[in-house]
Symmetry: C5
Subunit: 328 residues, 5 copies
């Protein structure tokens, strides 16, 4: 789907203009044009983008491939790639995927191209529609708006993850289960994926805040600087969360290990207590000591008292020995 | 709560001036004004901060979000974020959290904004109140004072952690328990959190000591250099402590592992000693050797002597074999 | 095998010219010459390369040794080393090896030297043969073509590996086997090998895109920049895949560990349930309690009822105890 | 304790001058003054140091706190912090601590301040006392002397550690004990502590060798360069030793693990051999097969032969099966 | 042993000249002098080196200590330290040590000093002896020759290690033994040691290839550049080999772990199968069921049939349960 917004100061906003008029519209430095491609096939996008006279390589990048966030300066326009992340909590598991938003930013126009509806784009679109002043600030301010919405959306994800870690930590000592581990690995994966797009996105913002671009008004740089700071903080939060996940993982492993040790200890204690006794009972179960046999003395009353004493005292002695070794 | 101090050389200190007068007061380059916001809601803080003509983005940062330590140069004022850490030893566990202190430093005023009472701020306030000379040195010296108190407070924390590590190390070899591990993880977390705020705080101090700011007197840079050195040392101590915790963790794991090996060894030794004997006694317990049965020879006196010899010599032989393998 | 292509604008393409004519042909700045050595022994390659007046050290490098990707600027020609990777899925295992493509790039000629047929070279050769326009763009554009084909070939490898990881992940929870681990290690090795050649290859592209070489047309740099971006993305994908493999490895280990714990738990539960019972039965199997013996009371009916109660209640009690410890 | 040396060319050395005369003495650019504070309380040190007109912050650093090695340039004097390490082999364990040596280096004086007697200082003192020529070279050469002695003292420590590692390695395969591990951890700790002071010390030397200081004669820089190289080498040795310790640790863990595996294998082999046999003997020990019972056939001679065959062949078969699995 | 070569164009080579003549010979810029010290004691080396007017610190470094590879520029001569590595395969183990070759390179002379005969030196010496042209190229070319031989010698070591890894990998799955581990650790150690000398050696070559030294002919830099590339490749190979060793280690550990799991599984299966049966047989072995006792019903024929059924069906059921859990 292709949609467009055109604003000329003094006029009301025009919507969904025919693509053929775009090249003509951008000749007027007063107006601001926003063209938005949503899951539009390359065949129909290509000629329109060519109408803007973008470099074939840049168009190729926008239409065909996925990239990490980056910024290419082509002189009278910028080609920018942003990534956005969708994180869904699916039962106990976590699903996340990363997709791409391609932006061409000119002096008086912005072209956005993406494969599915993005909340950040929708919200900016609606706010432009509602209040044309947003457009009056120029195309670069529109870029700021979009990027701002995009970055703001990370916060709830970060908070959801934070909550999830807290929850896991609470139930860790009660009943550690393999599912806990799976959840932790899933969280780790989400955080790693987020880190991989936050870092280059930060660099893009840094460039927009620092470098001198033909299409970015120097007085707007402070806004990109602010977004840069947001991303610095986001990266920092991400690091903290990864540390937390790492800590919970360590704790999980130590809890599981302790339980395992407990179990092996119990196995050993039981074996140590009963194996010798089983031998003793087995010994007196041998047919040498038959009532009609030759060794009646072995099954006499005093012998039984000794055996009985052994079966009672041996475990007791063993227990003391194990206690001294702090096993029990 | 909002409170303020105003000092004009020759006059005595004025306290708790009405916020409306702040913009007028800071016009006089001779005076020094300190405004302190303590857990003041954004609604009331905002207009006062706007009275200072701070950039909206800077005010936003101060009022709404938490940041890592940083310094923004806005020309005729600096926006500085410091972090402080509160560490409480709660029974066996450790609780720690990090909060933020926002500072606006102008030529002749300082504005501090924080969510709860901070010891460093209180102590500076009291010393200003008691001795106006502190204010005579200018607003940047006041910043130094606050930062100095803030950094000094890390030392007792570091020492408490050091003591805790020592204590754990002592009881490690006696009776290692899962709680030891939990405590170590908690200490590690605290140290990691401290490291994350000391590092950027150090960078802020470095900037104050090196860069040329309009509102910092060049001859005061040496003081910030000193604080920078304190933070370098603190970072170094932190690294040492983390190494120590790492070492204690390694030792703990090896102690636990050794105990586990001991336990498994005992299990094996007992099994190896008694299983064959149990078989022997079981063998002669079979009903083939009934007194009235056919195989009386098997339960004759010499046979018993042999079996008795086996039950005594077999464990002995096993013991020697295990000794040669250095198991026992 | 040595083969050659020569294109002089206005003439048709000449093929397989005698090597003696090469030095003469490259005198004409209009023409474009491509000489391709395929698994040609050094003895025959050497004099031909010397005919181009390449530096002996550069010829040595091309003929005798394998290198990591790199670019040497020798003024009027460049010596470039590319690596290509062949990955074969061999049953469950993965075979991969890396080989080298040496390229001499002059103003109007390109010399390629490799030990076996490379798809990228073949495809460029065929497209040159079919459409002489490719040659018209100059020798540096030919280099771009070859590098483009070379880099494009990594994508299917990356996808195959991605599929393999998915497949392993699916069967992980059902029946983890040592072969899974072997496969994961093999994948890791392939990814590591790929990383090692992608990184320096990227640097070569960066140089071609940034630096000012006598033999590279400045307007062609944008193409090498594009290849550079491809390699950046490839490197990024490689990192993601390695993270994925790492995650699957962690999961595998935790699954195996859980199964092991399950097994040990079962061992312990069975031992704990039956060892005491075996002792009890052994006790009453001793020959003290012979029907004709002295202690008839021990084998009376009420005693039996007690023993029966023990054999039923003991395991039940044990089970409750273990349940409280969340073992079962 | 405060002691001092003063040398004026042409005069003999003067010792233990009254502190009041120091400020006057250092006015004469010809003389060289060395003042040494040994575990002198701050109260008495302070006024003397103030007499030299050192900056209050520098004096503070010298008197109150411990630092990592560093160098501060205060124009007409340098403030230098060196660390020295004391390593004691205490039975099987290793004790080490790090202390600080503060130095003020002026054009014609050197002030050293430390908490306990340091061999390096003593030796330099004695050699100055014995041979005044050492003083004739100037205060910066005296600094070189002290640093040289200080650095030379690391070598025996390194060698002692090297020997200790060798010794541990030798006894590793015979009888690995938990104490081995403790010793290794102790060595690792010592090496880590040494590394932490060698690295910044190296940087101090680098500065003295490279930078242009008012109080260091350019022609003496070559000596500090030499000390820098010593520290580079020391750092390198430290790395090697840490690698060695790491290797021995790996070996230890694998040796212990192998022994554990051996033990578990024995446990399993014994259980696998005897458990089935115990069942067989138990089976024929049941009272169904009483001589007066109903199933006499089960205890007949041929049955016994079969049971006897089983008790002999079963272990044998098991052994072959385990052999095929390369367990025994 | 001291030996020397002197070549003056037009004259034949002179050998083993008296050391007293060296200072005089190097006055003639036409000639080339090579002095080689082989395990010569410092007492005799010192005066000769002093004759060349080398700086005392440089002489000290050459005579007394071992260093990492490095290059010192002393203006009219260079002091260079190379390291060489001797690796011996000693049975299953690997022995390696690193020694030092000190070189002084002047405009028209080279002085080499080492503790034992080095193949690289011998080969250069012989080739000089045989063909005086080598000397005609100047002293810096001689340095190149020696360094070239030195670096070439690493290749066979690398190949030997490669073969060893292959061999280990092959026998890994058949019969993993602790010796395999020892061998892997030894290989790792050798590779680490090699890495530690290749890296700084590379830097020395880089300096010789890039920097402007008085005693190195600029047109010879290309040769040192070539050696630099060799070392880059060597470092790369080293990294690959270390990755391989790491991979084999991981595989070894997983193979051993799998075997261990197998063993524990067997232990558990056997215990699970036979413990309940042993209880059953023990139960009916109790003397309650004496033929003359009171509970004849328990030893009647139908009871026996049930017990028989249990002893057959119980293991069968257990087996099915374990199969469902994919244990067997």
């Amino acid at each position: 789907m292709i949609r467009s917004l055109y604003f000329l100061p003094g006029n009301s906003i025009q919507k969904d203009l025919p693509p053929e008029k775009f090249p003509e519209l951008i000749q007027n430095p007063q107006g601001v044009l926003w063209v938005d491609f949503i899951s539009e096939p390359p065949e129909t996008s290509l000629p329109i983008l060519q109408g803007f006279k973008f470099h074939p390589l840049a168009i190729d990048d926008a239409l065909q491939e996925t990239h990490v966030p980056r910024l290419d300066d082509w002189g009278n326009y910028l080609y920018i790639v942003f990534n956005y992340m969708v994180v869904k909590k699916d039962g106990e598991g976590w699903e996340s995927y990363v997709d791409e938003l391609d932006i061409f930013l000119g002096q008086n126009y912005i072209v956005t191209h993406h494969d599915e509806r993005i909340t950040a784009i929708e919200e900016t679109w609606i706010s432009c529609d509602r209040d044309p002043r947003t457009l009056r600030e120029g195309a670069d301010h529109l870029l700021y708006k979009i990027a701002d919405f995009l970055i703001t959306e990370y916060m709830p994800i970060v908070e959801k993850i934070d909550d999830a870690i807290d929850q896991i930590e609470d139930q860790l000592f009660e009943r550690p289960s393999p599912r806990t581990l799976e959840q932790l690995f899933a969280l780790k994966r989400v955080l790693l994926a987020m880190r991989r797009i936050v870092l280059p996105q930060r660099e893009v913002m840094n460039k927009l805040a620092r470098d001198d671009f033909q299409v970015v008004d120097p007085k707007d740089r402070i806004f990109f600087r602010d977004l840069y700071d947001h991303l610095v903080r986001l990266h920092d939060l991400n690091e903290s969360l990864r540390d937390l996940v790492g800590g919970v993982l360590d704790t999980y492993l130590s809890v599981v290990n302790n339980r395992m040790n407990e179990i092996m200890k119990t196995l050993t204690v039981i074996t140590v207590l009963f194996m010798p006794l089983t031998f003793v009972t087995g010994f007196f179960g041998m047919n040498f000591f038959e009532p009609l046999g030759l060794m009646k003395g072995w099954t006499s009353n005093p012998a039984f008292d000794i055996v009985l004493a052994i079966t009672i005292l041996l475990p007791f002695g063993m227990y003391l020995w194990m206690r001294r070794r702090t096993w029990v």
